[in-house]
Subunit: 133 residues, 2 copies
DNA sequence: GTGCTAATTGAAAAAGTTTTTCAGTTGCCA
DNA sequence: TGGCAACTGAAAAACTTTTTCAATTAGCAC
């Protein structure tokens, strides 16, 4: 992510890099507060404000995705698959990406039946990871 | 909804009925504060606490669904189709239901490839309603 | 290197949202 | 017509998120 951040004209501050690293290495979804804790383990003194700002930035750039299932709507997980969505474990909040496929027909059918145009979609799966089953 | 509320052992208070009516008649998604305003138009003196409690109750009973797209995650829309999901207009927040169909294969494929079991899913579409196009 | 500047940062305050408390009220059943 | 558990709303508490602003700093030009 760091390289792409720079490519997009953003400074590579140690605080920002700590947050980026936390999310790159995360296997579960993390709330801003959880990100703060972990980022402070990498670089003490990171502020919560910076965490919020960095999460917004990473969202915009498509490096993280907000996760709605599995406890609240304020958790973030790394995007490992650009054209994909998140599958969350109900037990341990482990998050994996799965490819977005097979929605085209449903989208077209929905557009036809409602008269709406469909510009984007939100899809998440929730279940149990192998370890929690 | 009122009949089913009673069937599920809940009291039919005027406050609760006002909130129920607001949501039955809503064509857009509504935040708790918006629900409060409208409910007070039906029955003055309704409290915000009651709105929150009633929205929780109606969610549990499956009469409303929380909507995540189109501005925050704290908006509610009536469920007009049990086995369905919501499509939200980006312009006016008009919400319609569409049937849940065609996901089985993607779910099975995802389960196979990840080793997770998939218990539930969240799906929302966002676009423009006929009037806003 | 050195200096410049716009971007970034964090503490604090403000704003906003949601939950908890609790005393009083009330729908519903016997 | 009680009786009582469910329900209510005001206030307070608890949280979460955003805004402010003075100080710092990454990255660039020289
Ligand atoms: Zn959400
Ligand atoms: Zn798990
Ligand atoms: Zn519209
Ligand atoms: Zn579905």
């Amino acid at each position: 992510m760091a390289a792409e951040l720079r490519a997009n004209g953003h400074k590579l501050t140690p605080q920002r890099l700590a947050v980026v690293r936390v999310l790159r290495e995360a296997t579960e979804h993390l709330t801003p507060l959880q990100v703060l804790e972990r980022a402070r383990g990498i670089r003490s003194g990171v502020g919560l404000t910076t965490v919020y700002r960095t999460l917004d930035l990473l969202s915009e750039l498509g490096f993280v995705r907000r996760v709605h299932l599995g406890g609240g709507c304020q958790a973030y997980a790394p995007v490992r698959q650009r054209a994909g969505h998140h599958l969350v474990c109900q037990g341990c909040h482990h998050v994996v990406d799965f490819p977005c496929a097979g929605l085209t027909e449903l989208i077209e059918q929905t557009a036809r039946q409602t008269g709406f145009t469909v510009a984007s979609h939100l899809l998440e799966f929730e279940g149990l990871c192998p370890a929690c089953q």
